[in-house]
């Protein structure tokens, strides 16, 4: 395998509040320059002391990042905001330079950040295609060769000799994207986090990405959408606070990122002494069980999922029921609870189980809230635990799931398998 990108001890430092500290007027700079020896002396003297105060004003946006990406790999970069994802992309596209270390890149790099870069409103569509194409790294000859295709793809033929400022914004985006779509990069960088534009535009970006990946090119994809990452990338790199936390199979890295305490097990266990709960009830563990792919972090949308709630009761004769709420995309998709309160006559451990049928949950990330409550004249919550467990449903798109043979995005927070029928009603 040929290495396409090789990052070696890569680091980038930013000065916090750098913009304020940079002198904004020339006079200020001059005065600063004159007093600079004084400040230098102060700084150098501080080196011998504990220099906590001065090191506080810097932040490592990236620190000691090492990885190798082979040609043809599709790699997702994930992490919370401020993890350094965009800084990494900026370095890879040579917009900014690293403070230390280096990256070795083989091949032409394009990023879908650049869509429409250099477009000038006064120029005609034709002139802008040439300008934008050369800005993105094509030669004028390459643009000429692809010109007809680009124009056809954009669908603005009739306006091609009209200044772009007379275009609707949709037409401008279409023309800009047409140019980007005809680039032939060996390495494509996509930053969905920064991608501006409507859903249609984002869909096109993903489409271009898939084409590039299918053509055996290297793709680096930054996104907050774990569904896209898991579906498009085999490998993922997790960044946090400028550090590379994990680099491996995207399924494993994603589950790690989603704070699963026992990665790959789809379960969460609490120690007895810090288990959540009150009034004599403690939540011991929550487990998910699926009848296939048990070694995977994924749960298949086509298999039923069993939720097992283990809890301890230390007071006799409590009446209560267990409940689970499934949250999808931040919305409660549904709640389910035991139909009747059960009397727990004995002290000890209990287990409640519920099965979520197959083909109900939509593909993507979900989390479960667990509560155990009873009524003793008034409602009494023994356990009320948010985000007890996160899990990921994967649709293998093999035709047996709710989506059938449809491969595009599906809206909604549940995706039940429903029966469709049709008859011929004319004549």
């Amino acid at each position: 395998m040929n290495t396409a990108i090789s990052s070696n001890k890569l680091g980038k430092i930013y000065q916090i509040g750098a913009r304020q500290e940079l002198s904004s007027t020339f006079v200020e700079t001059l005065t600063k320059q004159i007093t600079k020896p004084l400040r230098n002396l102060k700084n150098i003297r501080q080196l011998s002391k504990n220099s906590n105060s001065s090191s506080n004003s810097y932040i490592w946006a990236l620190k000691d990042i090492n990885f190798d990406i082979n040609q043809g790999e599709v790699v997702g970069i994930i992490g919370p905001n401020g993890a350094g994802k965009s800084t990494l992309l900026k370095i890879l596209s040579r917009i900014t330079y690293p403070t230390e270390g280096y990256v070795k890149i083989k091949g032409r790099v394009s990023s879908l950040l650049e869509v429409g870069t250099g477009f000038h409103p006064e120029l005609t569509g034709r002139e802008n295609v040439y300008l934008n194409g050369t800005v993105l790294g094509m030669t004028r000859k390459e643009v000429s060769n692809k010109f007809d295709e680009i124009i056809e793809f954009s669908g603005v033929e009739t306006f091609i000799d009209t200044p772009v400022k007379r275009y609707s914004s949709g037409m401008q985006v279409r023309l800009a994207f047409a140019v980007a779509a005809h680039l032939e990069p060996e390495i494509l960088l996509v930053d969905e986090v920064l991608a501006v534009g409507d859903a249609e535009f984002q869909k096109r970006c993903i489409g271009k990405m898939k084409d590039t990946a299918n053509a055996g090119k290297t793709v680096i994809f930054v996104s907050h959408n774990m569904t896209s990452i898991s579906r498009l990338c085999d490998r993922a790199i997790l960044l946090n606070n400028g550090n590379l936390i994990e680099d491996g199979l995207s399924s494993e890295v994603i589950s790690h990122y989603l704070h699963k305490p026992d990665s790959g097990k789809n379960s969460r266990i609490w120690e007895m002494n810090n288990a959540p709960g009150q009034e004599g009830v403690k939540l011991l563990s929550v487990e998910l069980e699926s009848n296939e792919d048990s070694e995977h972090v994924w749960l298949n949308s086509t298999s039923p999922i069993k939720i097992k709630i283990n809890y301890h009761v230390s007071k006799p004769s409590l009446k209560m029921r267990c409940a689970a709420m499934v949250f999808t995309q931040g919305i409660c998709a549904f709640s389910t609870f035991e139909p009747k309160e059960r009397e727990h006559t004995q002290q000890g451990n209990y287990q409640a189980q519920v099965e979520i049928p197959s083909n109900l949950l939509i593909e993507g990330e979900h989390s479960i809230n667990i509560s155990i409550f009873g009524s003793k004249g008034h409602k009494l919550r023994y356990v009320d635990y948010k985000d007890a467990l996160g899990f990921h449903i994967k649709d293998k798109i093999d035709g047996t799931s709710s989506r059938g043979d449809y491969t595009q995005n599906v809206m909604g927070i549940v995706h039940p398998l429903l029966k469709w029928s049709s008859i011929y009603t004319y004549e």
Partner: protein, 279 residues
């Protein structure tokens, strides 16, 4: 463009070294981009204006009329025995080129900061393109010089062949200064406003409204440290035969221009790494 690179070739992305001179082969890679940007600059400049490229002539022509009235008719400053109109206009054309080239190249990074934060290319292209894109204006404004010379029946000297060389000095000087100030201006916007003021001051240190013969002989070498002195005196000498060709002034100017370009490019390259961060 990268497709021209050999397959075995790698790009190294690392902290740039502190002293870097022009990477000519890399800039050659981007020749098509330079061309596209030039076309853009030229087309956009007079877009949606009635007179279009005519504006390239109007500015020096207007100042020629004003100078003729004030400096020649009222103040009666010598014009080296030449008709005042030709004397002023031959200086105003190169001066307009220099000052607009300098002002535009100083602002070139700020103007294109949107591009700089999104895509890589050697940034030095931007001030370079700004300086080059003023050349068509220079050529068009020069046609009026020919008309004036016919009108006043002036024959140029054989040294007219030196004019491209004088233009080259001017391009070098405005590019060198422009590169230097553009790198400053991206961080300190003061420079962008200050540069207009600076060119106005420099105008009085250049023989436009008066002849160089007014400057004491023993101080002329100091005066010639402004390369525009050698350029304008040279052009007047070639076209109007006001004096012998001032080789000494021209060579001093050439040396200063080369030094300015060097300093400008080195300073620019030193700052380049932080452009996207400060823009």
């Amino acid at each position: 463009m990268f497709h021209e690179m050999k397959n075995s070739q790698y790009t190294f992305i690392k902290k740039p070294s502190k002293f870097e001179i022009l990477n000519v082969s890399e800039i050659w890679f981007y020749k098509d981009l330079i061309y596209s940007l030039l076309i853009k600059d030229i087309k956009v400049r007079y877009a949606q204006s009635v007179l279009g490229i005519g504006w390239a002539v109007i500015q020096p022509l207007f100042f020629m009329v004003v100078f003729t009235l004030i400096f020649s008719k009222l103040a009666k400053i010598s014009t080296d025995g030449q008709p005042a109109q030709v004397f002023y206009y031959t200086a105003l054309v190169p001066w307009t080129y220099f000052s607009s080239g300098l002002i535009d190249s100083t602002g070139s990074l700020i103007q294109n900061s949107g591009m700089m934060t999104k895509v890589y290319f050697p940034r030095i292209i931007l001030p370079f393109v700004s300086v080059l894109s003023k050349l068509p204006d220079l050529i068009i404004a020069s046609t009026i010089v020919a008309i004036l010379m016919v009108w006043f029946s002036i024959t140029p000297s054989i040294y007219i062949i030196l004019i491209p060389f004088l233009i080259l000095i001017m391009v070098l000087f405005s590019f060198g200064l422009g590169a230097f100030f553009s790198a400053l201006a991206i961080q300190y916007r003061d420079i962008k406003y200050g540069i207009t003021f600076l060119t106005q001051v420099l105008m009085f240190a250049t023989p436009i409204a008066y002849p160089t013969s007014l400057i004491p002989k023993n101080l002329q070498w100091v005066y010639a440290l402004n390369p525009m002195v050698g350029v304008i005196e040279g052009i007047r000498s070639c076209l109007l035969q006001t004096r012998e060709i001032p080789l000494d002034l021209i060579l001093i100017g050439l040396a200063v221009s080369i030094a300015t370009s060097f300093v400008g490019i080195i300073y620019f390259n030193r700052c380049e790494a932080t452009f996207a961060d400060v823009a």
